[in-house]
Symmetry: C2
Subunit: 307 residues, 2 copies
Amino acid sequence: MLRHAAHHMNLLVVGSTAFDTIETPHAEAKRCLGGSSTYFALAARMFASVRLVSVVGQDFPTEHRSLLESRGIDLAGLESKPGKTFTWHGRYSADMNSRTTIDVQLNTFGDFQPKVPSKFRDSRFVFLANGAPATQMSVLSQVASPEFVVADTMDLWIERERDGLCALLKRINGLIVNDQEVKQLTGESNLIKAGKAVLAMGPSLVIVKKGEHGCFVFSPYFHYALPAYPTEKVLDPTGAGDSFAGGFMGYLASCDTISIWNMKRAVAYGTVAASLTVEAVGVDSIANADRATVERRYQDLLQFVTF
Amino acid sequence: MLRHAAHHMNLLVVGSTAFDTIETPHAEAKRCLGGSSTYFALAARMFASVRLVSVVGQDFPTEHRSLLESRGIDLAGLESKPGKTFTWHGRYSADMNSRTTIDVQLNTFGDFQPKVPSKFRDSRFVFLANGAPATQMSVLSQVASPEFVVADTMDLWIERERDGLCALLKRINGLIVNDQEVKQLTGESNLIKAGKAVLAMGPSLVIVKKGEHGCFVFSPYFHYALPAYPTEKVLDPTGAGDSFAGGFMGYLASCDTISIWNMKRAVAYGTVAASLTVEAVGVDSIANADRATVERRYQDLLQFVTF
């Protein structure tokens, strides 16, 4: 199932667009462009044609829209609704390994019912960013014949919408979650056991993100581990996970086949994308990255892990 | 300095021998053989001739001595003194990532003044297991011309014996510490910065152990990361760090040169040794491991990290 032709490199992402107010020990920023679909798209656009489905309010400025469009991201699915854009205000701990949400205003994102434009319905690669499982499922029903679907989720849905999440897991190819989430989802504290337990729930690929410790990848065909890119300059971890997913899905969408080796390489590209994101506050670094920078870091990472 | 001939594969370890009482969520054991020198030696003996310097009391049974000797470990430096052997009683948390010391009786280890037997003084590879920096330094003065010296330390010495520790760092080739210790030693919360900061303090090799997340390796010539071996069966983490050091130093002592590639391979052998230790309570697993098992796991690990 993992090895097949991928003739289309169109990649659909459905997720949030937000204004983020961020406090870290080293930096602060007010109402900067954020959201899962934004970080994902800005990473993925370096590899593939990205189609974005999200929602904003009428306070969403033209400049943000222009930035995304200038990076080749198709915004035909970026709905503008009466009201305000989703806002999030978070504060990171001293070591930046945890964060507190100071304030959240869902606004127009609160009742987001994603509508996949008809011209996006032939998308072959689909990333369902964190959202209610029922909403994620509704996206799937609007895509004609997706080849490779990956979803993110969070503690809220694992706790409150387990049935919907379990139904979704049977319909998708891959799940990207963090270490706490995979433990919560499976009840297993050993990450290797937890990863395998998710495979038994449906997906043929499970990526467990461990922040500064990198990630584990589980499939019935291989297991794999990659450390985080060794960056000394972590300014703002916001969006690292979505950038990782964007680099991963973008690279994979650009490949001829979804082979084990292409997946492993895709995980490395995801790791590189995340490293770029954390080196600036907000989307600045990932929005301005180019493929040459990415390739240099990819080679560094290869050196870093080869023995 | 890192690349030179290593004609002698004699490896000296100086550290503790103990009776451990261990409580984990999955297992319990009373007064089993433990101690840093024991775990180190049982891992290293698979690769090199190990010479052990430690101290026990008169309650130390012949069977433990026989076990170590049957594995080819030279016990000429295992001093037996009036009184009791060091005992430790610890309890691990549910996820086994932290532990509480319930009781500690230093006994004969309390005033351990290591005496390196004259026949050990030509040792070329030396591992100074966790101990007071002054004690570690006294060992160095008893070895004629060591080629490659690696030390371990802990929070207690970083806090109370910083000057002694800093003096030691200028005399050794490598330091093996965990992530908390390297942050405490350097005041850097970013592990990459912390690792580099230790290099500036003297050693040309710093290995930062991150438990289930594997390790980082820093040198002026290369940086390197390796995940932990993906074991599902973690019964007892006691001794994992010393077994890691034993696999690392043992393999390196068996090499013709201390090259970058041999050091990277040695880190992988250390990782394999640690994975064997954690799969049983006490020393059972590492004491009974053979080189063939180690080589199989080494190949697994290579697969696990190659992209």
